[in-house]
């Protein structure tokens, strides 16, 4: 219960003076002491350094250098267990079970612990880098990552075990040429492809009013305010390079600036509706965007789930080809089992089962007739989004592979302002 104090002004001031804090000499001395302590904290600040991930950070030594050599592989034995980390919805699933993994287990006796723990490359890399740097096992035998800066970092730091491709003969035998010997991993030293995709253009013919054939259509003023571009700066920058007719893997920094200029023009003219992550597909489906950069598998799935009119096109200037790759991180406890799975996967029958479900580009062309006949799914088999035609394959371009952090930083500094300003 509050009482209303009816005090006159001088008395009220007296009450405040008697009851409120004052600044005494003791307080001043004490606070000066605290201030002095604070200055000594600057010494502590220096100790808050962030360690590097390369060089002396890694627990390398004579033993680590030999990991992955043929002598080392000769000493490794099959263990009967496989820890497989992958992206969500990236393997055939039938009522919660994975038929391809079950067939693998019954044929080889290896139990597979399948974990869908990878949501994106950057956070997953950030998750495993500390363990790898400390020389500890990550807990996974196979991880799946997209080609890009984070995969290059893993390779540069020697955190992946070189593959013994003599134990994966099915790869050389059945893999499509576009996934063999890629720019980011020469001679498939560390990785074999899991699935690939194209980043091309998707559009709604009813809204654009005409067929789309060229990357210049993303700059068409008729689509002002309804063009979607990607917020991933690697995809965005590569689109700019393609428009200028530059092959991304051989581009230079001045090419990047030129690409950034035309992307900035596209934005300044009000053509771009938004820079999207994977939610571009929702915007396209709802009609907010009419034409957008897109990933091939998303359009296939949109067609199958109620939007059959959406089209995906490979622009005549070229289409960006990315690959999600299987690799064995350093410290993996069951590397031979990992190789056994890779070999098993590259059989056309198994690759067919997986591709039939995932609907991205299958790395095994021989799976096509199997999907058409034995799995009775001609829609997938005849789709150029799963089995690209030779004409499409010729237009496939790789991304620029960053060789060191400075290049990565430069690229970011050039293309981030277009998305973020």
């Amino acid at each position: 219960m509050k009482e209303i104090q009816q005090l006159s002004e001088p008395e009220a001031a007296l009450v405040r003076g008697l009851t409120q804090e004052r600044f005494s000499r003791g307080q001043l001395l004490r606070r000066a002491g605290v201030g002095a302590a604070g200055l000594s904290l600057s010494g502590l600040l220096a100790a808050c350094g962030v360690g590097g991930t390369g060089g002396s950070g890694t627990a390398t030594g004579p033993a680590a250098d030999q990991v992955g050599s043929s002598a080392w592989w000769a000493t490794q034995k099959q263990a009967g267990v496989l820890d497989f980390a992958n992206w969500p919805y990236y393997i055939d699933t039938d009522h919660g079970k994975h038929p391809s993994l079950n067939q693998f287990t019954s044929k080889t006796g290896i139990t597979v612990n399948y974990k869908e723990v990878i949501q994106d490359n950057a956070p997953f890399y950030a998750k495993i880098a500390p363990s790898l740097q400390a020389g500890q096992a990550t807990g996974y035998d196979i991880i799946v990552m997209t080609n890009g800066w984070y995969l290059t970092e893993l390779i540069n730091h020697k955190w992946l075990i070189p593959l013994d491709l003599s134990r994966v003969p099915n790869f050389k035998k059945y893999a499509s040429p576009i996934v063999q010997n890629p720019d980011y991993d020469e001679r498939n030293t560390y990785t074999v492809a899991w699935q690939s995709g194209f980043t091309g253009i998707a559009y709604d013919p009813k809204l654009t009013g005409r067929p789309i054939t060229s990357i210049n259509d993303l700059w068409d003023p008729a689509f002002k305010g309804h063009v979607g571009m990607m917020s991933d700066n690697t995809e965005l920058g590569s689109a700019g390079l393609l428009k200028l007719g530059i092959d991304p893997p051989t581009s230079t920094e001045s090419d990047w600036h030129k690409a950034a200029n035309i992307l900035q023009q596209q934005r300044d003219k009000g053509l771009v509706r938004q820079y999207y992550d994977q939610s571009y597909i929702k915007a396209l489906e709802s009609g907010d965007t009419w034409i957008t950069q897109a990933w091939s598998g998303d359009i296939f799935q949109a067609n199958a789930s109620g939007y059959p009119h959406l089209e995906f096109v490979v622009p005549k200037e070229g289409v960006m080809h990315w690959t999600d790759n299987m690799m064995i991180p350093l410290g993996a406890k069951h590397p031979v089992d990992a190789l056994a799975w890779m070999n098993f996967y590259y059989q056309p029958k198994i690759a067919a089962e997986v591709a039939d479900w995932i609907n991205y580009i299958c790395p095994v062309p021989a799976a096509k007739p199997i999907i058409a006949k034995q799995l009775d799914d001609p829609a997938v088999a005849s789709s150029p989004l799963v089995f690209p035609t030779p004409a499409m394959a010729k237009k496939a371009r790789d991304y620029y592979t960053f060789r060191n952090y400075d290049q990565f930083n430069t690229w970011n500094g050039i293309f981030d302002p277009i998305i973020q300003s």
Binding site: A46, G55, D288, D406, Q420, S421
Partner: protein, 284 residues
């Protein structure tokens, strides 16, 4: 007083103090320290007292900084305008069902914040049931779009801030002595006057608390701009997120974070001087 009695308050405060020291003070110093470091993720970062990082940060991102404070201020004012009538009604006219009404205000918290923002993306889509219907009735031109504009981001920020504004306001309004309101009407004050001169000033602590909660969270927000925004609506939170998590540019991200903390503190201090602290003491 014995030694034990003098130490007791500090011992009682120790768990909270340790928690604060470990999870607040140490990380704060770490962020300040990293902002002054140079290097790259491969070779490591070392403290070089690189103050120029702050200059670069302001040069590159001053637009986003100003924009974030602008959006936070607008969404705070909007949230206040929308939340005050709600809190007033629940406090003064809620009657027996006050807790039910409060539960209804809190209900959105049962759903993840990101999912609620995605729901707004669905509601505000060009041909969705809101805009599509209005366009069919020819109340809006066909080319209207709300998503990817500043309006959508502000709407999202205001919406997510509403419960944080309603609750402190409700608490402050609830605590007002009703006899003061009756006294005002006894002294011939019309209802509007008694509201403006009695209730509103007495709810000032609630407004301040609501302002703190809403402004501080919104100025660093990045979800609304990412999902509902478009070109030209990027907030400083998005920039910090990209810097830290994708580009691994720790010094820049830390410099941006430190600047954001400093800027927010300045705004709160200015608000407290203008509207709050000195007058609250007289009513306590």
């Amino acid at each position: 007083m014995g030694l034990r009695q003098r130490l007791t308050p500090y011992l009682l405060g120790m768990p909270g103090g340790v928690y604060l020291a470990v999870f607040f003070v140490v990380p704060l110093f770490a962020v300040l320290s990293v902002s002054l470091q140079t290097g790259n993720p491969d070779t490591g970062f070392t403290l070089t007292w690189h103050w120029h990082e702050y200059v670069t940060a302001i040069q590159r991102y001053h637009t986003q900084f100003v924009r974030s404070f602008e959006y936070a201020a607008i969404s705070t004012v909007l949230a206040l305008v929308l939340a005050y009538p709600m809190a007033y009604w629940i406090a003064f006219h809620g009657g027996r069902h006050k807790s039910t009404y409060l539960l209804l205000v809190l209900l959105p918290f049962f759903v993840s914040f990101v999912i609620r923002t995605l729901a707004w993306e669905f509601i505000l889509s060009d041909e969705g049931f809101v805009l599509g219907t209005l366009k069919d009735w020819h109340m809006l031109p066909q080319s209207t779009h709300v998503l990817s504009t500043r309006t959508a981001v502000l709407a999202g920020l205001t919406y997510s801030a509403l419960p944080f504004m309603v609750l402190p306001l409700y608490v402050a309004l609830e605590r007002i002595d009703r006899r003061l309101v009756r006294a005002a009407s006894d002294l011939y004050a019309p209802p509007a006057s008694s509201f403006a001169r009695v209730i509103l000033p007495l709810s000032a602590p609630g407004i301040f608390a609501g302002f703190l909660l809403v402004f501080v969270t919104n100025v660093g927000d990045y979800v609304n701009a990412a999902i509902l925004g478009g070109p030209g609506t990027t907030m400083i939170g998005n920039v910090i997120q990209t810097s830290y998590l994708q580009n691994f540019d720790y010094p820049m991200a830390s410099a941006l974070s430190s600047l954001l903390i400093a800027g927010t503190l300045v705004v709160i201090f200015l608000y407290a001087r203008a509207f709050g602290a000195s007058r609250i003491q007289e009513y306590a």
